[in-house]
Symmetry: D2
Subunit: 351 residues, 4 copies
């Protein structure tokens, strides 16, 4: 590739926007050339507009860039990564798609829309074909692709290899989610220090609906949801990054522990075959120590793009129990969208 | 009562031992007159032997008391509260029972023994009749009574009122347990700060077995376990005190949300009728705010003796989902044993 | 006292406002009869307007009370406890004083005003005489009294007994302050979990100026600041309640360690003599264990109204080094103001 | 370099030992070929003996290595990095030096010994000449070099450039130190969660003595300590990695803020000139935002080898106040020793 593809970021100053900047720094295909944020930030430099909150320094080139308003304009590149809150996304993202942009969004606003692909490249990379039925695509060449919620991501990465081989029928999941999932300023410290909040608005509904769509089958111009029942309990814990989940699982076909572990460890898919730059070598890693995975020790596996599974053991009610972890702002947000962007380029949707 | 009943504490220097001392200070019926700990501590004063770790000051009378070795001797009172680790309990507790002591234990060592009552006074206060079949009781008048594990306590308090009215059939539970449950020094800070440990050795097995015994029926000289299936996921979080649990529940008879909430709020039992001094006025409290209960705000309800329930909502797989909290070193340990001691006195086992 | 004195609370929904409500519940002299908050909260019940954030339940009587706008009206009682942020206090507090109210404020807005007493009853209870020079007092009988900043409180309680006996000349202090000092939502959890923020805006200046005024002498109608130099470093740590401070101290007269410890432990003053209801029996408590005081274990001493001092040891540069702790929302805020209110009543300023 | 220099690690299973392994993985000069730990671990593989506690995976080559007993044997390489506790170091380190090994130690046991260099390569790289006066060196070619305590490191890196230009006369410092500084299991979580411990045994004495030796001048075969007075207050906070310190400073010559900041930012020394592999490009970095440095955001600057300084402002008592941060297990321990090892090789002490 002689020249990098220019990309823009909507919601560039927030927690996920910052991760986009961090992960796209030195990306082999993409280069950030346009940043947008709310009107309050517009016309400031990025360094003035954002309270940089990551432990790697803000890249100097980005620090000096002007922040644009969140509206399509001539300077915005074709490919836009979007990290908007759902209310803002509701109007801003369609405006960009209508104006011919490829909107690769982390927002929940359009994930469940019938003609919008909800994609994890390892799981349902073929769902991007829904793009062709989007009216934006027909009119302007613009389109929209989404990735799932951060709590859905780790779960579905762990379920997908089992669903292919044994069929997933029922899933109980209790999450322990990191504070970075709530953005910045997000969770007040008085609420979470030495505490747990057993409620995250709408999170359980998202996990239940998104999992069925992600594991569903593309059938012409629509996706038929997978026939699995999921019951989620979502909790917020005093962890900086990394969502972990306690899962009980009922399969359609019997499976031995070794078969399940092999299915996880051997799971390789489209992004690995296509050698997408952000694809982890091993999307699902099984750790055998009983106290693993843990957020602090395991969230950065595969540069934050691998899900880590552990403690596979029999369940008294369903078939199996296990723990799964994934990094919520990398694999569960910015990294997910970047991997989607890479897939779209490999599939020819982005030139 | 003109004179208080003298009591002793085994394992007096540990986390639960300290709670015994704190809760028995100014107790209307009992007075601590004997303290024992490991050989390392014996013959020191309590202030020298213990690293007092509670936010109320160590009572001066206790500070100056001599710590005895953990063996029955003439100075040990009839009633002994025991806060030993299971390995120590295995030999020390029977030695005391054989020597004629009433051993009211928080240890897991004998909870599942057929002739040892595992008791929550609100749930199965009649199980104390098992005492009469204990060989110690026949030989020396000594006996042993136990309370459940700290993670079992909150769950069973929430299940009991529903089991009576609707029958509990299946239970999924994922716990988020406080560090004080592991004693002192217990969990290293490097393991838990900003982290979750998704493993507590043997905890899931204890919850599953103890719940069935607690909700079981006394049938002559033995207890028939309740026919319910429980699947537990036990996790350790960075909370000082208070275990919370995400629960999904299948009932035998259909129940409306209002009926369930009423069953919880109206639940009054033996300890309330007997006006036992440590009995909470309301053993189970339903809080309607979606983000309650939380450990920090709700663990001290009913002086740490009430379980607090919240977020009752339908479950996609079973009937209902909810959150339950109880204070792990009060209701789940020292307070549980003291309430058992009070019940035994009210029932005439202790004079 | 046959009837309690009615009191109002300005800023009743915030962190300090909630402490006022908690501490005034069951107060022997005062009864909360009026609550005010920002316009957003006005005309709601208190339960609707406030996110109650304390571990004791919101009293039912308070929950149902109507929240008033923050302006003097007929229903507002004479005595008003104020927990406003400084910007709001700047206009609201004088309006109440002008309207004849006794404003007992925790805000920094008027602490350094020449005719406004800045008072710790144990330290400078006579400074309330400044009231008589306030124009409000002359015109309407209204007046204003303030208590110091939460980080100043513990320090000055520790310095006062030494200043009286030996003269305090120079003080270095580095604070480690709790998150509750920043109110709610206050410090974002992403900023403080596993972290320290070494900056609290204006805090160091407040400590330096307020200490000199508090230890100063009343001279007719004005206060001559104490001649001591103070250099403060203020830091925010992941502690819920309780500010601790590392202090180095230069005295004017030589003092032995035993003399200093005795000066602290024997310090009894006006509020103890007057038996004010919120006065701690022992305002300054010396703990001899090298790892004390600590926020978690010692902040509630004297019902949160005592300062706890420890680790007195020689300093290489000045004379002595020590650690001091006080509860920032009790002794350092709501409790401080209530004690000031009690003093004012004992002195006859409030009938 | 065609072949890497083989190195051994004493105390390989502890917190600092693990950092040695992590930092030496892919080191351009050194290769770990020998690991030793306490007798309990000896003859196990490293994976069996150590509870790996870092967020990068344990290298597979190391995992399978046999752990040796902590005694000199034929298989131990010349260059030994030592991460022993002081008691063990007292006997084990001299045994290795006597047996001809170059012992590069992180322990406090011999730091203040007259003929043992205490070295920060940026500060006093010439002090390694003391090696020549060691009896071990004369007898067997073995020798010992040490690096300072983790809390001394950041302070002295910040003081050194100022000491050279302006002369440092007096220093007050209050530390807020990370839990990893206490090793593993180290600080119990019940002691530090939501708390501060204002005591670290012997830490203040170490800071005071080591700073004077480090900033001292080599005078033939001995070091004359710098004439500066230091008063330290050492505190433990709930931070995983990164010690921060609040410092007040008196200089011998007047200095403007800009001069001080320039002295920090422009400080380049021996390790930078020699291009030692672990040397940070910029050993001291000044950050101008008022809330920086912070442990979470700044500890990894210069791959954990830079000290970060901020908040330079006038002091009421001395000349200047500031905050300094350095990574305690990298710059303050394993990285410090590795940099010392690199210096020794560049100086020809290790072939």
């Amino acid at each position: 590739m002689t020249k990098k593809i220019p990309v823009g970021i909507l919601g560039a100053t927030g927690t996920v926007g910052q991760r986009f900047i961090q992960l796209l720094e030195a990306h082999p295909w993409f280069e950030v050339e346009w940043l947008a944020a709310s009107d309050r930030s517009a016309d400031k430099t990025y360094a003035e507009a954002a309270k940089w909150n990551l432990s790697t320094p803000l890249p100097a080139r980005i620090a000096g860039m002007q922040v644009s308003p969140s509206a399509p304009d001539r300077s915005a590149p074709k490919l836009i990564f979007a990290a908007l809150d759902p209310t803002a996304a509701k109007t801003i993202e369609p405006a960009f798609a209508a104006a011919g942009h490829a909107v690769v969004s982390n927002s929940s606003a359009f994930r469940m829309a019938e003609d919008v692909p909800l994609v994890i490249p390892e799981v349902n990379g073929d769902h991007t074909q829904l793009i062709k039925s989007q009216k934006w695509y027909k009119n302007s060449g613009g389109f929209m692709v989404t990735n799932p919620n951060c709590s859905t991501m780790g779960l579905v990465l762990a379920l997908a290899p089992l669903h292919r081989k044994f069929g997933v029928q029922k899933v109980f999941v209790a999450t322990m989610q990191a504070i970075s999932g709530a953005g910045y300023p997000g969770v007040p410290s008085l609420d979470i220090l030495g505490n747990v909040i057993h409620y995250i608005a709408n999170e359980e509904q998202k996990m239940e609906a998104e999992s069925r769509k992600l594991l569903g089958l593309l059938d012409g111009a629509s996706v038929t949801s997978a026939e699995l029942t999921l019951s989620a309990h979502c909790n917020r814990v005093a962890v900086e990054d990394g969502h972990t989940e306690s899962v009980s699982l009922q399969l359609r076909k019997p499976a031995q522990a070794e078969e399940i572990i092999a299915a996880w460890n051997e799971f390789r898919c489209l992004p690995q075959k296509l050698k997408l730059p952000s694809a982890p070598e091993q999307p699902v890693i099984y750790e055998s120590a009983p106290d693993r995975p843990q957020p602090r020790l395991d969230r950065d596996r595969g540069r934050g793009m691998s899900a880590v599974v552990g403690r596979l053991r029999p369940c008294n009610i369903f078939d199996w129990k296990f723990t799964v972890l994934s990094h919520n702002t990398i694999r569960g947000a910015a990294g997910a969208a970047i991997l989607n962007g890479e897939l779209l380029r490999a599939q020819g949707y982005i030139a």
